[in-house]
Symmetry: none
Subunit: 418 residues, 2 copies
């Protein structure tokens, strides 16, 4: 049996104590540490006050083996993490040359003056491991101090996550040297609700504890996380594969991806495989569908773009929807959606056209209630289809659900065709 490491996560920042933001960093970190088999025993949040940060650090040094500190590494006077740890540890600090170079060159590029307080961000403890921050200024640090591991990370979630993924988790994996391997696998589903999914596989969940099976509703569908503990990677993988198989037999038709795969990526990869290009005509979604697609790298090979036709004039004049159709059926209609999908496909010389028209709210439109959405699909081999939906929620919830449904429709269409 290897040593059980006790970990603690300290968030530094008055904004957390004022309730301006939630401590989602602690949540995210805890999840990652759990996968490494490291037990997190405590979360603490303290404000930007030197004495209180120092006190929190002293307590942690006594009770924990691994302490992860987020926040307080920025350039301003109330960023006090370095000072508090130096007070406690008496470790020396120095300027980290690559970091100061990076900060200076950033300001040069921006053609703006670097204020003196920015130098502070490059100060690190002598002899520590400096972690390269690829999305921001302040580097992370791993400091070994009196047999305890201290890991200092910026509070900005994007920066913190990059450092943890690239540097901290590999380090901790080695440092803890656990003999049990923890492997996990995330199955991602779309077009099925959480309770329905759980209902379909409840006997499988009940019957076993390795791997554990945890369903969780997310913004872009429902995921099931399988977590296996075993003596070897092969054994853990075998357990995961076996349980995945069982689950797939019940609800496999709704699976869209594994682990970090997104629905957008899967749509892009299917379009690529079938050498197809998609174009979107967006009224209520207003660019959100194209944005979602283009946010994935590789989008340029499967889409030329789209037309945001928020106004009826753009629908008619740019997209060429006939004014007859609009007079007869309105812009929020099956007929208009179909013409939009057809026309954007032709106009942008694409294989598939998709269209979104509907009522995001706050007011109803053309007698159609808030949440009414038509999504049209048209392909260059004659397939076409318009579906009507009634989404629940405020303006941007309706727009977001319509966008996600559009991706789901395209995904399922691409899976069915040869």
């Amino acid at each position: 049996m290897t040593k059980q490491f006790k970990a603690e996560i300290i968030g530094v920042g008055t904004e957390l104590l004022l309730g301006q933001i939630a401590n989602t960093n602690a949540q995210w970190l805890s999840e990652k540490l759990a996968l490494l088999g490291i037990n997190v025993y405590k979360h603490v949040v303290v404000g930007d006050n030197l004495q209180r940060v120092e006190d929190a650090f002293r307590d942690a040094q006594i009770r924990s083996d691994i302490v992860i500190v987020t926040g307080g590494l920025g350039p301003t006077d109330d960023d006090l993490t370095r000072e508090a740890f130096r007070n406690m540890s008496n470790l020396e600090m120095e300027e980290h040359i690559p970091s100061i170079n990076k900060i200076e060159s950033y300001f040069k590029k921006q053609k703006s003056a670097m204020t003196p307080n920015n130098r502070k961000q490059a100060r690190v403890f002598k002899g520590c491991s400096v972690l390269d921050n690829k999305v921001g200024m302040a580097p992370g640090m791993i400091v070994l101090y009196e047999e305890k591991v201290w890991i200092f990370l910026p509070g900005v979630p994007r920066e913190m996550k990059q450092l943890v993924t690239d540097s901290v988790l590999p380090f901790l994996g080695k440092h803890t040297g656990s003999e049990e391997i923890i492997k996990s696998l995330v199955l991602k589903f779309i077009g099925i609700g959480e309770s329905q999914l759980e209902h379909e596989i409840s006997d499988i969940i009940q019957a076993q504890s390795n791997p554990t099976i945890a369903p969780l509703a997310q913004n872009d569908g429902v995921v099931i996380r399988l977590t296996a503990k075993e003596k070897s990677e092969e054994k853990a993988n075998a357990l995961l594969v076996q349980t995945k198989q069982q689950i797939m037999e019940r609800v496999g038709e709704h699976l869209f991806g594994i682990d970090e795969q997104t629905l957008g990526q899967q749509v892009i990869s299917l379009l690529n495989k079938k050498k197809m290009k998609i174009a979107a005509a967006e009224s209520l979604t207003g660019g959100m569908f194209m944005d979602k697609l283009i946010s994935e790298s590789g989008a340029s090979s499967v889409s030329r773009g789209g037309i945001v036709c928020y106004d009826v004039k753009v629908k008619e004049e740019v997209l060429g929807v006939s004014s007859k159709t609009i007079r007869a059926h309105g812009t929020v209609s099956e007929e208009c959606a179909l013409e939009m999908a057809n026309n954007v496909r032709k106009k942008l010389d694409s294989t598939i056209g998709i269209s979104f028209t509907g009522v995001a709210g706050p007011e109803e439109v053309e007698g159609k209630s808030v949440g009414t959405v038509y999504i049209g699909v048209s392909t260059n081999d004659g397939y076409h289809n318009v579906q009507e939906f009634h989404f629940f929620g405020d303006r941007n919830t309706v727009r977001g659900r319509a966008t996600l449904k559009g991706l789901e429709i395209i995904f399922k269409y691409l899976k069915t065709i040869k």
Copy 2:
């Protein structure tokens, strides 16, 4: 001067330490306490372990005046909040008759058997104030113990919030007997970094403590939160106005809004005032700019839409950018950006055209490095301008920063014109 109360929030629950949920209870509570003028000095999260919960309670009893505990009041064996506090305090417990009646009648109504562990939820400390839980089983409790106030609440956010709103806040208002009114004001800035902003006003920050001045970097700029404490609302407001004035003299040109206002809303409101309409030609931002605008209600009166011209073919054929321009300068160029802005404005019959072209990454394009972005603006009275930027970060960071910069450019342009 009334007493300054120190408050602490303890979350009990292993699910928090496993990262299954974030401690949003602490955030919500902190915000409410701040409004009462109660300073929260610490958040702590501990797991469902009797000794560790007890230790956390002992620490809190020493350092805090008010301790709010969420979670661990349920019926199962790992709900240990009551036991831990009894161990620490040696206070006696008893069954709360109205609560046990409520629990029994619930199970009767559900026609299901009440398992014995449910009785546990009705156990309260003798002589405490029992708080009626209107949305769940376990009542809340307010316990006075050795001059400290202990408030026990269920961990389910819906139940916790009801108890706090109905019972805890009125109690705390009286208990702290604060005669002081707390008012806050958030100033929102764009086009200036956090360190620059703080540098510009550091003497103002240093020189005063009422209102406090707290700068914070956010996704869409930097905010400064002013928080004033005074005997009356008028006095508090007067302090806020006075400090706002001081700050505005230094960095007022960068202010875009107050409190909950967004940059998108401000752009829409200025466009409305000037009776102008905007259209966007988006290459690297791929619909994100239009999406941001249309996510605000009221967008329909100031924008007809836009064209997502991700591919060169759409730039030429739909938007009408001349192939000569593209051959001579490439698509990532000042010249292309200008034609895009001009043409989308004309094509969509709008007052202002804005364009985005650049390199989001991961690979460079036409010899231009990742992060290079051109943003063009063209108006129907002949004004035009293209700016070159070099944004830092991954694909979607670059796209997001370009979108935000576009809003900033339009905002500042609209403010300068008559």
